[in-house]
Symmetry: C2
Subunit: 355 residues, 2 copies
Amino acid sequence: MSIYIDPEIAVSLRGYEVPEKLGFGTAMAPVMFRAVWQDGCWSNGELIPYAPLTVDPAAKVLHYAQSCFEGMKAYRTEEGGAALFRPEMNAARMAYSAQRLCMPSVPESLFLDGVRVVTAHCTNLVPSNSGESLYLRPFLMGTQPDLTVSASNSYEFYVIASPSEAYHSGNMRLWIEREDARAAVGGTGDAKVGGNYASSLLSIGRLRERGYDQSLWLNPANRQNIDELSGMNFFAVIDGSLYTPALNGSILEGITRHSLIQLAKGLGYTVVERAVPIDELLEQIASGECSEAFACGTAAIISPISVIGDGGQEYSLPYTPGPVAEHLRQALLDIQEGRSEDTYDWMKAVEPVNS
Amino acid sequence: MSIYIDPEIAVSLRGYEVPEKLGFGTAMAPVMFRAVWQDGCWSNGELIPYAPLTVDPAAKVLHYAQSCFEGMKAYRTEEGGAALFRPEMNAARMAYSAQRLCMPSVPESLFLDGVRVVTAHCTNLVPSNSGESLYLRPFLMGTQPDLTVSASNSYEFYVIASPSEAYHSGNMRLWIEREDARAAVGGTGDAKVGGNYASSLLSIGRLRERGYDQSLWLNPANRQNIDELSGMNFFAVIDGSLYTPALNGSILEGITRHSLIQLAKGLGYTVVERAVPIDELLEQIASGECSEAFACGTAAIISPISVIGDGGQEYSLPYTPGPVAEHLRQALLDIQEGRSEDTYDWMKAVEPVNS
Ligand SMILES: Cc1ncc(COP(=O)(O)O)c(C=O)c1O
Ligand SMILES: Cc1ncc(COP(=O)(O)O)c(C=O)c1O
């Protein structure tokens, strides 16, 4: 890789102290990766000090939300190094998101260069308690200063990083969102683009006032089947089997979801991907057939769901965390944190660089 | 108004030359208005030189599209001054868009201060041919550097301006978009927020390759009724009456649409706001009952539609521009450009400031 390493980053890294209280995605690592697309070509990448971007006030990203992003983690390994979890899947999803918004794809090699070089130089910043990690946020945005509604002719790609706790610890209280939608049929629900998140903010605000943690989004085509949460996919355990909504064009295909399906099958669980009607699920919770439910994502890993609220009613799950969620969470973390054998070849070690 | 006027703007304005070839929203005026929201309060506004913004790489606007905008025009008046068209309606729509994305509203007085002070200092830049104007682009964005999916705790409001031609001259060829959607039922279609435009880019790209100019978006609930275009509302003339899709939660309420309805009624037309099924309209075009169709918006004013394409078929409108479109366009422009009496009190004169 021919990545330019700004000599200033050594100073930035030496002067940086990881905060004691981490939170999630709040403390930012002092370096970032950057590449620019112009006239049909990507520039070489560069690792530079973390600093405010200069963005033209008329840039497409600010007006027409022409941007997409990824979320992934570098985990500390037992040997004191760092490893990425299935980074090529994030590269592929970002390529999909980019084309959905008429943006040039970030080539897989450039994407991987970016996340690797940031991780390599920040290995000392990867926190080491189980569940903690260096959260990586690659993003791509349209920068052309032009107010017509059309695709940008210039783009910038960045990778920033944040030493982070697990996103959500504890049991989640979900609220079934029956009014708003995060994405349309034929919209951008299966791409990781800003507009999906913007449209979910109002619902999140409303439900927090009512004492809930996350919206449970229904499929926009029928307002009946479960799609997912704002940043996590959904699983339920029914009669001992795992059920998760089948991909339908408005669900983001989570890499955690994908991995858990494979992992669970390997552990002997039956996994069913199909439409999951919310009313059917609520009945199954009431009858006890559904013994647990959880959400999964890079940030949250696996978060058990304790309650699903629907208008005036509440449906409580008996086990939170349930044994299946606990089993899968541990199996996944054991691979990610290097305690068990990586039989699926998911982990990509990154050689530390001390600058 | 207690607006800080940066002494540097005099230099910026003196050094600025309006380009000969204007285009739309491409040439930017050399000043901008800015106000900041922090800890629950708006700062005073300031008029400063147009310059790149400094945006934190983790700012909410770049990742979660937490931003909204307006589009409005200052017109040159016969006396050589400038006037704004119904600016309080833009202020109200921006307040609505902001709350849809959990952002603080820009108070009407701050919004009007912003557009007025930019116009006042840029009066010399308002082009003077009929249909030309100073296009104003107020926008609001979440700036907090934090990667959690939640509303920002800090915001910036800007007004930038662009001396512009009319957005689209000539007849438009529309393509009925039967696959993609610009917004969901329960989504953000009736708010002027970036995500709606981002999700429309792919469709626009596809149809341009097929020789069309704009997507005709259908209602996401039924994929049958016409909603609007990516940046304009839709009208058809059927048996001499004007039909336009009734507001339904996924259509942006255009200020041009609102004004044309009032203007057309005043001129003796029957105006019907109701669901407009696309198949019904295509039959009415084929039978000759529909004599013309046009789109309207601040940027485009009124743009006649010549052809509606649907899969392999094309439906041609007999009159482009049709007499009704021409009549309304002239009546509206005559008010906006000060040639006819402003009976509805739509125009707000702005006193020029020579700096
Ligand atoms: C909407 C949405 N669904 C699901 C997920 C889970 O995806 P992953 O497991 O790749 O993090 C995410 C991202 O974190 C998301 O934003
Ligand atoms: C989606 C959409 N519809 C309609 C319009 C027309 O609104 P207005 O007449 O206020 O410009 C616009 C804005 O220009 C728009 O972006």
